[in-house]
Amino acid sequence: MKRRPHYLAGAGSLVWLLLVGLPLYVMLAATVQTRTEYARNGPLAFPESFTFDNYTGAFSGGFGQYLVNTFIVTASVIALVLLLVPPLAFAIVRSRSRITSGVFRLFLLGLAIPAQAVIVPMFYLISKAGLYDNLIGVILPTAAFCLPISALILSGAMRDISPELYEAMAIDGAPPRQIFFRLVLPLSKGGLSTIVVFSALQAWNGFLFPLVLTQSESTKLITLGLYDFQTEYGINIPGLLAAVVLSTVPVLLVYLFARRALVQGLMGVGGK
């Protein structure tokens, strides 16, 4: 159906583009300027000269270490989620046991538990377990808080596998383990990549757990690094924004290469 363009909507969309794009432009422009130039010309000016000092400065200020730490935490969270969620989702979708429907309700309830609400006892538990200021102490709760949405997304994907396929394998006498590895996992690749990207984002962007559960330089994650940079050198705006850009580059790369998985994951939450 060919329709005439909607000018009002077009104009509105351009206003929003400006609102989203302008801050991002200012951020990038600021990071290639020196502090004095930024202070003199203001945030909206076009940069006169280009310098990468802000980026190298961020690295020498410890951001290289923070990036490595964040990579470790992110990879571990992904591994935990991939280990725990597929069997769980399989049970939710295919098990006839009453217990699993109870389990599913438990995870649905967990969807709305905010990390803030449990941070005090989490601090208590992690300290008592001797994991305070240890990356493991950040990994465990972060992974736990990825589980509800991941379970929801993956069980949605597994439900889309046609019941005939399950039954065909069942009639052939295949045990659950075989059905899981030969049918369910290969056919829910989309859902799996979605939960990987989702958990990676949660781990990469997480702030509250690292804020409360770590304190030293050697366990600092990138978000906490940004926060500390801001509180200590808040007036060095180009340096600060360079650190913000650095913290985002890996996520942008994922966005470029796994956009579908990311978008589907985010929509799976409310779209189903």
């Binding site: 989203v20 006839r96 309700r105 449990v118 709760p141 801001q230 939450v269």
Partner: protein
Amino acid sequence: MTTQTTGVRPSTAAGGGRSRSRSTRAATAQVGRPGFAWAIPATVFFTLFAIAPLLMVAVLSFTSWSGLGSPEFVGLDNWTRILDDPVMIKSIWLSLLITGLGVAVQTPLSILLGVWAAGQQRNRAVLSAIYFIPLLLSSTAVSVLWRALLDPNFGVPSEATWLFGDGNLFGGQATAIGVLAFVSTWQFTPFHTLLYQGAARAIPKVLYQAAEIDGAGRYRQFFHITLPQLRNTVITSTILMVVGGLTTFETVLILTQGGPGTDTTISAYYMYQKAFKSFDFGAGAAVALVLVVAATVISLIVVRVSGYDKMRSAMEGL
């Protein structure tokens, strides 16, 4: 277990073979189905690191603990203290205000953007890809970015004094709340836009074709087809906004530090201060419990209203 479960759902088994005897049917229905053991590892892990802390909040709220040693039982002391604290009462109102503002601003905005982005035009696809970017930044990055952009001395307000007055948006309560609402909108509208985009694309095309034949214009189509069809998404999105709004934390910590004074000290930030700045973990736990109760009530509404818990029977029986 076998008789019980097959008794509940005989329909799936019937799909396997209509002519079989009853006993084979029952057997087929159970073969290849995982037992609840498959759910155990995830459930144990989740219980340990999410459910147990949730229950512990309640216990800790009746204790006094400074972070060292062991918590001591003090009865209702924390509760009377926080409920007598005007800052706490104010923080609840502020949380509700910020949440309400978020819903009121983001809902119409994301519906319009989402429906617009649902169109299949090439330029819309490109623009939507850009709109999505704020969602990729962490809340920390977003807050740090806007703190820098709105800096009273080096930021945009100092350039546009005709619009921003003295340029210090963090100096007054109204402007500080405005900044918080604006930054949340900037960050989270893309997410909700995405929800609406997906939902708008799922609306059957026939509805629009029928409306077109009946001569309904673009606006009537929007109000009489699109909006009613988006009803469920509005509910889900609103609930997510409420939960997100009640737990706003990074934005407050980085942008306003709860100030000026305590004018933007919302409950989640108040809790953080009590527990991790004043080392009054008991009071922090009490505030957290208030948040838990609010979030649980909302999550129960999610499950009821959206029918997530009924999804299983609806889907598998097909």
